[in-house]
Symmetry: C2
């Protein structure tokens, strides 16, 4: 079977993510804008194979829920972790990390940015090919 | 690769929800347990046609993301709202409500309980057939 095709996209693709914060093509559909009541911002993100966002951190933390495909996630100082449909990643506040697709599969995830009263995101440097092409751990 | 069949289920069904809080069959797979760091609890809920939870409220609010099927959502004092795959519902803190499947379709949603430092859920009375069978608004 293929990961594209007759798939089950839940949300429209949304807008292209700025090349300032991303290498390759990625799209974000905002599902819940940040507000002072729920203190969460929720978006659906689609990464093309090879696409990944820059290193960054969330002052209030973030939860990623992979809904389609196979992606990469890396915390600073740890190996790249392969992430797949149905997996959930909890990212503590201020932990530096990046995420994206794997080289040969798209990846779609819902991103829940938590405790937004503490801030949403602080962007850092790009994820170079050297970093992206490291060996990845996964099942 | 091992994504099973042509299926669209993202998560396993999880455990049956207690009949104390629900009419009909519903299942919950806990994706993110509550903790003192992210202050969010995330679960995937599957309702069989006709199933619905009791009236309840969340002291910190909740976000519902419908990923499959057609469901019902009602806030106290408002008409029943039909909710569908790809729709998102924001529930402010302490607003009394219930949700479930529509009479003829299963409904699956991700439930993100927010600001859990304020509490998770307060359960109330059952949603009677009289309430459930009111006319529903939707598109």
């Amino acid at each position: 079977m293929t990961l594209t095709g007759t798939q089950t996209e839940i949300f429209p693709k949304g807008g292209k993510i700025s090349a300032e914060h991303c290498i390759g093509n990625a799209w974000m559909k905002l599902l819940v804008p940040n507000d002072g009541m729920l203190h969460c911002q929720v978006g659906n993100v689609v990464f093309e194979p090879g696409a990944r966002n820059n290193w960054h951190r969330h002052p209030g933390g973030q939860i990623l829920i992979v809904t389609e495909g196979i992606g990469y996630f890396q915390e600073r100082g740890q190996p790249i972790q392969i992430i797949k449909k149905g997996e959930v990643i909890n990212i503590p506040p201020d932990v530096e990390h990046w995420h994206g697709a794997s080289p040969e599969s798209e990846c779609t995830h819902i991103a829940i940015t938590t405790n937004t009263q503490n801030g949403i995101v602080v962007w850092m440097e790009r994820v170079t090919d050297e970093v992206y092409n490291q060996p990845a751990n996964g099942n």
